[in-house]
Symmetry: D3
Subunit: 132 residues, 6 copies
């Protein structure tokens, strides 16, 4: 299996309701450094998993509506707890849709798997990985 | 598959008997930066793989008896060669026991897999990964 | 000149009023990975710049009131723009006070300089450095 | 599954023919930081996945003919597009041959899997991973 | 003294003529991860060293003519040896000119110092630092 | 001022006698990732601060007698407390001697300053920096 991975980041505010979150129940925030990995069984004729330019654009397009926002105010997250794990899945779903919808070009159609990883500090990160 | 990973570290002395270890046969030491990853197929109602606070405490509890120690002096490692790989498994076993024993809360019961990674320098690391 | 540096981090929300901040004018947030460096011309009798345990505690004590908070709500920052640079200075001032006040032990009295660095992402950081 | 990983690097020139590569069609270059991971189901009698010394030598031997070279001039890459993904596979094939040929010692014979990862910048990397 | 630093990167080919360069005399290449640091004695009314947006654009504008190029072909480098140190100075000179010419806004006029750092691998980097 | 920096590492055992060291009084160990920085006001005719090959060899030669050793057993450290700060100075002194003695070539004679940095974990490091 081949993979390519690109990195971007967002800076957001949010609160995490629920006793399990302790002091993170209050409004706080995070820088999430985001790694999106694209997997394919074989390379295309150009020796690529996917067009990195398109992949980078697709990731940026998914992150843009979150960046510099208070996630508690976004209608799409109403009633959701925007944990790091949850946000991994959110970005994954966006990339999966982009891949199937053609936004990653022909290479996007051949992808076997995606992994989205969010680093929240130098000591903690989360990821979601699944076949397409 | 979802995962969350937390980082801690230990500073230990040990020797590695056996010709294959060359100069590392003598008493020397290492800083091991330890990454413990917890995997689950689905998130819980709070949007979590596992309670990160409990996971961090469990990891610290496993590392504490090793930290600032000469591993050659620890009864539990008598007759063992404490390679980086071996120590990955040792920490894994401790976390698996913590998960099954309830020390990670309800989320610990649902874990599908663990991975324990030890970085021994900027150029070498090892890990052990297995289903629970 | 000798130096020792320790690392901690905070996760905060804030907004940055002023046209120059563009999209960061809205409420958003950041993980700040904080490096605090302590400088001394000579080592003490134990071969140390400063007691690292005390230095780590002093840094944690300064960061604790900010961690998991919305900085816009903190009275001490009323009317201030909590840029990364500003926060470097805030942490520096706290450490300088701790050093002069004896919270870093005898070693803290001998310090020549401090530097406080905040990493806000994998591509941007700020710092403040000054003699004591 | 156990794994150990070692790091090395190369500095090469190349061009990437094909419209998809945009400005990278011209002659340019890269530093590739290379991580080679060796996987085994069980540790050997010394508590190792593989002899790290031999693994490091095998990786260096594969990288040496590429280091400080213009890949466009190497006969073995004639007619090939030397993308990061392609080079991951090239190094993988070399390590697989070394493992099967005995250059990694007895441990090399027991390896279950290899992964070769090339970091091309602080924001992009690729890898190839397959069973042996 | 305050500082802010931003990161970008370039991927270039070049050769380094001169016996001292050994195998690097041939045409090869590098990824240079570039950190540009801007220093000021005091913050401006917005709590900033310099407008980070303008600083990032200025850095990108200086790097763009080098990125994806063979430096041996660039007229401006004719007769020069494009070592990492030399390129640090080249980027520094560009940023100094941008600062004095107003491209960094008012904040650029107040800058006390610049530092430009190029990381050529995980084990080597160079920098140039000077007052403005 | 120009600088170049190279990285190496050592894995050692030691104990730190003195109440201030708490649990580190016992025999334990560390991986020290070592960054040695060489500073010069001007570049030489080849565009270099110093011959990186010679600098790397000089650093390795200083580290070799410490690597895979118990520092408590080394005669040269008898009666010394081998703190991270102390070891920075030890490596600095070795490099200063190498520079003045000609082991770094002509470039070594022109050096204005050295800095030696030891990273002991992902959260702590120390350095020593002085003019030559």
């Amino acid at each position: 299996m081949f993979a390519v991975e690109v990195r971007d980041h967002i800076m957001i505010a949010h609160s995490l309701p629920g006793e399990v979150f302790g002091p993170a129940q209050g409004l706080h925030g995070a820088t999430f450094v985001v790694d999106a990995a694209f997997f394919a069984e074989e390379l295309d004729a150009d020796g690529l998993v996917v067009d990195i330019g398109l992949a980078t654009q697709a990731l940026a397009a998914i992150l843009q509506p979150l960046n510099y926002k208070n996630l508690d105010d976004l209608p799409e997250f109403a009633g959701k707890t925007t944990t790091t794990e949850f946000l991994c899945r959110h970005v994954f779903d966006g990339l999966a849709k982009a891949a199937r919808g053609g936004a990653l070009g022909q290479g996007g159609m051949r992808l076997a798997k995606l992994r989205v990883q969010l680093h929240e500090s130098h000591t903690a990160r989360a990821w979601y990985e699944a076949p397409l």
